[in-house]
Symmetry: C2
Subunit: 306 residues, 2 copies
């Protein structure tokens, strides 16, 4: 019973008000799979170049992640660099070198195809669709996307998310996708596009989950210090789907998932996003324990109870 | 066992994307006392001019509000007019005619002075202090303020809030008052200034409450439509203090108030703020019932539970 994660494995250069790192392990697939690995077994599908460092390979392996789908090809690994604003609510991309990621064509190893849970990181909608088609049977599919695909690949994206169980986006993307500014009505429109569950991430303000049975809203965690928000949304996704996989939800019954179960999954997502921000890049996952995760989950319960 | 409310009673001209009203009942004292009147008996201290309309007097009276402290003097009632931005997160003041409010000097009727609860609307800090000094014994004092007093009357404001039990402000005011951008650390600083409880209102994103025992965070209510946000913060204050008064909290033990009780008060505050936005001005309070209030409280419990 594994979670299949598809997306980018990359090197990132990041500058925040708290420091600067020229090159460190990053990428949506990396963050998602590290976060999810605290809840369930993870199998990744991604591509790296010849420069991919054994230490980074070892970090993923040390979390029990199946790397059979991590293709290594001639060339360089995807490189992204960006700088965050003083309040870290905005970031400017300085460099995007797609490198080997430019021709990424996810191919699932045979033993991935019967797994019940799939998390599609933010990549080309056509590639996301191809992954779903390679799976053998009805799976619980959760996916992420972004403004670029919503604006420039709209039809392809709509055809792709039509088959998803869970769509994860942020509030501005929800407004862009639906064409509606009111979040509740935006959510209604998006649920009509196919997804059974919609999660709207709102950064420091928390997250909302909409499904046919109503909605759930969670405020953000008050972190002592946000060192680096890179990957927080991906860690949210990893915690959310990791928890659902751990709970063994029936992948054919995604529309009937219990509201409180979904709420707890949103809390675990928020917990993982919050830990991600505490250090640069994936650093926090070198020491993080499940006990700390469950403690923070209880903190959420405490500061939201009345 | 009443709540004494001090602040402005005014006429407002408001334009939002949903419409325009040239002149309607408004003012912090009005909104606070209407909201609080669903929970406890309210006595107001305010001033109006000769143009104050009997219908508006009757509305307040119909909610059982004691108007012995509502002074009527020669001249015109305070008039404010403003226009909201398309998303209603910003507003521009068009007119501020202080009129009789310019010389407002709150004088408490004798039978007000033994009441256990006081809510000081956003007025000159020196006037807020004078009200506290007119009270006979230790009372639970809750007060509001704004950027103008924080910037231009800082010393006077600090001397005033030093004696308050509860301070209610929004996030930008909390940052301005503390000089710290991180909300948690801003709250720590502000609690060192005297207040035992700090509430930070965050508009559509909800509210946070800080006290020595920790913090509570509540997401915002997803309103179908915000018609007019004028008065929402005051209604929050009225619901919050109204609920504490209804629960009969010991006014001498404000520092020891139970976290969950405070949490429920924040929820009732948010409930009252949300109803306020559903119609122009105070319109919603002409039909609102306690049953609807308790139903929305339960809705909050439902969409925040996990």
């Amino acid at each position: 019973m594994s979670l299949v994660v598809v997306g980018s494995v990359a090197y990132d250069g990041v500058e925040t008000p708290h420091g600067k790192v020229d090159r460190m392990l990053g990428g949506a697939c990396t963050y998602i799979s590290l976060a999810a690995s605290y809840f369930t077994h993870v199998k990744i599908v991604a591509v790296v170049g010849e420069d991919f460092h054994p230490e980074d390979h070892n970090l993923l392996e040390s979390r029990g992640i199946d790397l059979a789908g991590l293709e290594r090809v001639p060339g360089k690994t995807f490189f992204w660099a960006g700088v965050y604003s003083q309040d870290m609510n905005d970031r400017t991309t300085l460099t995007t070198d797609l490198n080997v990621f430019a021709t990424f064509d996810p191919k699932l190893p045979e033993h991935y195809k019967d797994q019940p849970y799939v998390l599609l990181g933010n990549i080309q909608p056509a590639l996301q669709r191809s992954v779903r088609q390679q799976m053998n049977a009805t799976r619980l599919i959760c996916g992420d996307t972004m403004n670029f695909w919503i604006n420039d690949f709209r039809e392809e994206l709509l055809e792709t998310i039509r088959h998803w169980d869970v769509l994860l986006i942020n509030d501005s993307e929800a407004r862009l996708l639906s064409g509606v500014s009111h979040l509740g009505r935006a959510a209604e429109r998006i649920l009509e596009m196919g997804p059974k569950v919609l999660i709207i991430k709102r950064g420091e303000y928390g997250a909302m989950l909409f499904h046919r049975g109503g909605y759930f809203s969670l405020p953000g965690y008050l972190l002592d210090q946000v060192f680096d928000p890179t990957g927080a949304g991906d860690c949210f996704a990893g915690g959310f789907m990791g928890y659902l996989a751990e709970q063994g939800v029936d992948p054919t019954q995604a529309g009937g998932m219990d509201s409180k179960l979904l709420g707890r999954a949103v809390v675990y997502g928020s917990v993982m996003g919050s830990f991600c921000c505490e250090r640069f890049g994936v650093e926090r996952f070198r020491s993080l324990t499940r006990k700390e995760i469950d403690q923070r989950f209880e903190e959420f319960r405490h500061f939201t109870s009345f």
